[in-house]
Each structure stands twice: as structure tokens, then as C-alpha cells.
Symmetry: C2
Subunit: 413 residues, 2 copies
């Protein structure tokens, strides 16, 4: 199809006055509706007590109720003493952890990060925009680390952390990484677990957001990070985060931070200043619905059956639309909420612009990179979960038209 034909096809789409949104990693109404039983999991005063007899309506219980700690521990493969239960947002726990590190020493003998002229975080890219937004908010310099199918470029990571005392952190989404869907290989995890950073207060923010979020029957396997880290005496180097936002209700789930018992103690010392404790009734609801780990796994199968066809619809549209475009590729992850579309350099932004003008909102180009800058202007994040299958079929086809038009504009036919 030449540029004129593409333009014609695009104009036809534009004339349809579409209103489609494929920009966010948001579960669909259909998907959240499968958790209705959570709403009535605690109905009476008598049901408001935790397994140790604690009154979940009242004050107390800074680190969460036992049954929820155990469940989240099983989810992450750690014991309960590694867990603090949070509120409904793991992002908030990550933000708090960075904020706390800015003002209080992360390790004995270190100074708060805000006392440095400049500190640096390593950011595997493409990555998660909200991680990068936290760094930007606190004035933390970000350095791009290329992310491959094996995980971050570890040669680069090892050399940066070993030689620079102001490199204080690294963001990782180790499983079904947002947005590529790559899972770190066992060797990558081993190398991360055995890092020898120059800074005693270097910390890895291990955002295990998609730990159970498989999309196939051959899911990726990720080694448990604290087990690996312990082998190298690096247990204190990791803060792990997860939540049930994409298991139960995105706006009303349960988050957690996992850390070494030593770090847990430090965090609780700060947390007792910060809050009266998180919502234990919602923890109780969750642990009544999910009595054991297998109950969560069963729920994830329900989600998989809703989400997988959505990914398939887009893959098919891309296979058709991009047939013959050898310079257009996309990832096909075994899980998570996204995949990544790679276009020829210099066409991603224009594609997004064309989509927008035709009524399709996609994640802004560049959003997956620190400071919103994709140096190649080539990557797009595809988020299939929210729209209906009908909407997705249109959106995906329209997206291919926009991308091909952008390519034609830039490179000719």
C-alpha cells in the first residue's frame, strides 16, 4: 500500500469519529467484576477479627494482619517476617521508600540521599514511567540501561555501581517487565543478587508487579530474589514491591513491601511515625477470599482467560498490518499487562500523534524512558487489557495504519 492509499485509509478512520483508549495498564470492567465476592467477604461485626483475635475495625497492627502477611509472603516466595502490608498502592510504598531514603540514612554510617549534590538511579529501558516520575520529583539523575530479553545489560550495571558511590538505586520490574514483558534470566538475577556496589546504601527497587500475571500455560520463571541475595550477603540490598491491584481491585487492593528482616525493622521504625497502620478490614477481606496461595492462582487463571484473547487480537492485527515491514517488531510476552512495539527510528511520536487525531489514545511515545525521551523515538507501549475485544480490533488496525503512514512520511514508500 503506498502513502496515498494509507492516507486514504487513515482519513476514513478519522471520519469515523472514534473514541478509543489503549493507553493504560488498567483491568477491564469485566475483569474486575470477577472479584465481586471480595465486596462481601466481611459482613458482620463478628467477622471482623483476625486469626490472632485482633479487631480489624480498630487501631493497631502496623505491619498488617498475620494471614495477609503469610499470603503475600507465599505470593513472593518469602516468609512472613519479610513482609509489611501496605495500603492499596504499591507505588505509594515505592515513593515512601525513596522519600524516606532522601531524608534518613538508608544504612548506618551513610548520609541521607538529599545531602548529596546529585545521586543516580539506573533505569532499565524501556521501563515504567511512574518509577521515573518518582526520580524526577526528587531530583534523582536517571541513567538508561538497555533492557534485553535476558534483563538489564549487566556489564553496564556492574561497572556503574562498582565505581560510583553516588549510584544509589536501580529500578527493576523483573518479571513481565513493563512494557516489554521480558523476564530477567536466572543468570541476570544471579548477577544482580551478587552486585558489589561502591555505595553501602545502594538499593534495588524490585517491583514484582506481575509476579503471578501469566498469559500462557508456559509462564516465565523468576528466581526468588532474597534467596539469591542471601548467597552473596546482599539481603539488605533489595526492596521488593507487589500488590493485588491487578489480582483483585486496582483501586482497592492490598500492597506490600518485602525486605530483609533487618530492613523490615528499620522501615517499621519510620512507619510508626508515619501512620496509625493500614486498612486491616480490607486485608481481612482479601485473606477471607484467598485462604491460601492456590486460591490466588485460580483467580489469575480467570484473569488470563479474559486478557489473553485481547493480546491475541492485537498480535493478529499487527501480523496483518505490518506484513512485509521487516523493521517493525513487537514482543510477545508470556505474561504481564503490556507488550512493546518497535518502529523504525523517528516514527513513534508521529504515530501517536496520528492515532490521537483519529480518536485513539495510546501511551505517549517516550513515556517508557527517563525524562520522557526515547533516544530513538521508536518504541510504543501497547496496553490491551482495558478496551473490549471489539474496540481492540479497531484500535489495533488503526494503529498499524498510523504507524505505516508515519513510516511512509519519514522514509517514503
Amino acid at each position: 500500500m503506498n502513502r496515498t492509499e494509507l492516507q486514504k485509509q487513515y482519513d476514513e478512520y478519522k471520519a469515523m469519529g472514534l473514541k478509543l483508549d489503549m493507553s493504560r495498564g488498567k483491568p477491564s470492567p469485566e475483569q474486575v467484576s470477577t472479584m465481586e465476592r471480595l465486596l462481601t467477604a466481611v459482613k458482620t461485626n463478628e467477622e471482623c477479627f483476625s486469626e490472632t483475635g485482633g479487631d480489624c475495625r480498630n487501631y493497631g497492627g502496623l505491619d498488617g494482619i498475620n494471614e495477609m502477611k503469610r499470603l503475600l509472603g507465599e505470593m513472593l516466595g518469602v516468609t512472613s517476617d519479610h513482609i509489611i502490608v501496605g495500603g492499596n498502592s504499591s507505588l505509594n510504598l515505592m515513593y515512601d521508600t525513596v522519600a524516606r531514603s532522601m531524608l534518613h540514612p538508608v544504612e548506618e554510617g551513610c548520609k541521607p540521599w538529599s545531602k548529596y549534590d546529585q545521586i543516580t538511579f539506573l533505569c532499565p529501558v524501556p521501563g515504567y514511567d511512574r518509577h521515573f516520575a518518582i526520580c524526577e520529583f526528587f531530583g534523582i539523575k536517571m541513567v538508561n540501561i538497555p533492557l534485553t530479553e535476558e534483563g538489564p545489560d549487566m556489564d553496564l550495571v556492574e561497572s556503574l555501581v562498582a565505581n560510583d558511590e553516588t549510584v544509589k538505586g536501580m529500578w527493576c520490574v523483573p518479571k513481565y517487565s513493563n512494557p516489554s514483558g521480558f523476564t530477567y534470566s536466572a543468570e541476570t538475577v544471579r548477577r544482580i543478587a551478587s552486585l558489589r556496589p561502591a555505595a553501602k546504601d545502594f538499593r534495588i527497587f524490585w517491583d514484582n508487579a506481575y509476579v503471578l500475571h501469566d498469559l500462557t500455560d508456559t509462564p516465565d520463571e523468576l528466581p526468588e530474589i532474597f534467596t539469591e541475595a542471601e548467597k552473596y550477603g546482599n539481603e539488605d540490598m533489595f526492596f521488593e514491591f507487589a500488590s493485588t491491584s491487578k489480582i483483585t481491585f486496582p483501586g482497592s487492593g492490598i500492597s506490600c513491601i518485602a525486605a530483609s528482616p533487618r530492613n523490615i525493622k528499620r522501615i517499621l521504625n519510620a512507619l510508626k511515625i508515619q501512620t496509625i497502620g493500614h486498612d486491616k478490614l480490607n486485608q481481612l477481606r482479601h485473606s477471607r477470599v484467598f485462604k491460601c496461595y492456590d486460591d490466588i492462582v485460580a483467580q489469575m487463571k480467570v484473569h488470563m482467560n479474559i486478557i489473553r484473547p485481547k493480546f491475541q487480537i492485537i498480535y493478529e492485527a499487527f501480523e496483518n498490518g505490518f506484513e512485509g515491514y521487516d523493521n517493525v517488531t513487537w514482543t510477545i510476552p508470556n505474561g504481564g499487562y503490556f507488550f512493546c512495539l518497535s518502529l523504525p527510528n523517528g516514527t513513534a511520536k508521529r504515530t501517536v500523534e496520528l492515532c490521537k487525531e483519529a480518536g485513539l489514545v495510546v501511551t505517549p511515545a517516550g513515556a517508557m524512558f527517563p525524562y520522557g525521551i526515547d533516544p530513538d523515538d521508536s518504541k510504543l507501549r501497547i496496553a490491551p487489557t482495558f478496551p473490549s475485544c471489539d474496540e481492540l480490533a479497531i484500535a489495533a488496525d488503526l494503529l498499524t495504519v498510523c504507524a505505516r503512514l508515519a513510516i511512509a512520511e519519514k522514509y517514503g514508500e
Copy 2:
């Protein structure tokens, strides 16, 4: 009764092996049980939508749902555009507000508070230990401000804020102040609203925790602070905090911050980095149970009828036990969760110690003062709400015995 007789009475109590706790401002199980209907206020998928059609199960809605903003606004006497709905802990909102001010300028042209060698908060005393703990955690110097029945000593406050650019904040519990139960007079509120601080980024943390928590049919009246502040162009000088923790469930209520629309905008700019938004399902539950302001007022009457008798039991025990002790006084507030017992100087700590040895936990002496230091060692916080009436009768009598014994030890008979 002489010292020997007191000692005998005390030893008898000690032999009883009591286990009583009158240390915390915690609603009783009976009281929280009156809110059972909140548990089932949202039962089905269809009920999960806010009045504007927003899906409260899903992401979105950083500042809270409309109906909850309106309700909290009515509670505080401000319009919805002054409100951001929080999670279950107003303490967390206060902590966050201080933390944010440490790292980001509170006002254009100002520097973050952490960039000063030292900043100062004014702390009306006796006051709330968790306010002071936040200051201590961030290394903020605290200056005691005597609190009278009219509110903080305003001559002192005015002179301190007018002349020192490093005075950045003041804690206020303006209604039924924790622990004295005093409510600031209209004149005090006017003087606070019209302050002329040297620091452009001076902020008052107006913790209106007991705004509706009356204990009599002749409740105190507190002028609405933003209305007052507006008269003097000081609307931006106030952050107000409140929650339903002591209206619905202490561990699972809804908090809010109220601020000028200008400040609300600034806070939201930071909040969007910090979190995906707070739990909207719990907001929805609250706004279904409390359809309007009067519904909350009705609930507060239910609480009053449970709490008032508990205060009465202690007042009576104190009237009997401290008969003839002209140097022992206590406040009798019209609302709130506490009152304050004033003992002769140098006897508060010893009284707490004696209580503890006899199996009665009361709030540690000094807890109501910055750094835990009551310069006179004379004030005790009395928290009648949690124990049962039977327990309270014993606890109150035992407390008088301990206090009289402490006085006898220190001053002779």
C-alpha cells in the same frame, strides 16, 4: 488518709493482679460495633459506581469521589474544592505534608525546609505525641507554647512567627484539643487567622480530629478556619486534617486534607507522583452510609451516649479520690477523647510508675510534650474511651490512689 494507709490501699490493688489499659484514645469494641452497616454498604458490582459513574473498583480519581469530598467538606464547613480525600489515616496525611515540605518548596521562591540548618515548629502543650514524633523524626526543633482554655498563648505565637524566618509551622488541635479538651476561642482563631509570619512558607497544621466529637448537649463552637483566614489573605497558610477514624472504624476510616484551592493544586501535583489514588470503594461505603451531614451527626450522638458515661465514671472517682486535694485539678471538656489531670509538680511520672506496677497502663507522663519532657512533671492524659465502665471504675480509683501516694512520697502528708 495518711501515707501508710495509702500504701496499704495501693498494695491491696497490687495484689489483685489487674490488667487494665487506659492509655489510648481508642474507641471501644461496643462503639465500633455501632457501625456494622458500613461493612455491607457496597455489596455488588452494580453498586460500585460513584455518582459521576466512576468505577470505584478501578484506578483513577486521585482526589477522591465527589460525594465523599462533599461530605467531608460539610463536616469541616468548606466547599469540595478545598478537599482531597485520603486513605485511612489523617496522621499519614500530616506526615506526608511535612515530608513533602522538607524536600520541596512550600511556596514559590522558598527553599525546601531540609535546606535550613534548623527549622522550628510551635507546639501548644500539652499536645498530641504523634505530632511531636513527626517533628522529631525530621529533626524539626519544637518550642512549647502554653495552651490555655482560650487556646495557645497568642502573644507568644505572634512574636515568635513575626520575628523568626525559620519558624515554619505550628501544630493545632483547635477543637477539644488532645489532651486537655480545650477549644480555641473565636478571638484566638481570629488571631491565628491573621498572623503575619516572617516566613512566607509558614504553615499551620490544623488537626481538626474532633470536629464533631461532642460529649455534651452544649458543644463548643469553633469558627471555620478558611473563612477566617480569607479575611486576612491567609488562606494558603492552613492545612486542615480530619478523618472518620473516630466516627466509623478507627483502622478503616476515611481521612482528608483541606486546603486553599491553590494549595490543593500543589498537593495534587505531588500526589500524582506518590500514589495511584486512595481506596475509593471505602469512600463509597462511607458515602452510602452517610448520605448527608445529618447522618454523621446522628452517628455522633450514638457515640456520645456510649462515651459520656465513661468520662462521668472517672470524674466521680476523681471527685471522691481527690477530695481535699486543692492542688489536683482536671479539665472537663465538652467533647473529644481525653481530658487532662494536673497533679502537683514532680508527681506525674511517679504516678504512672505506680499505676504500671499495679497493672494499670496509662499514657506515659511527658508524652504530651515535645521530646517527652513535661517540664513540671505534672500532667497526665486520661483516655476513658476504650475500657468498659466496670474496668474504668476500678482504673480511676486506682489512679487516684497512685497519684495520692506519689504526692505523699514527694511532699509528705
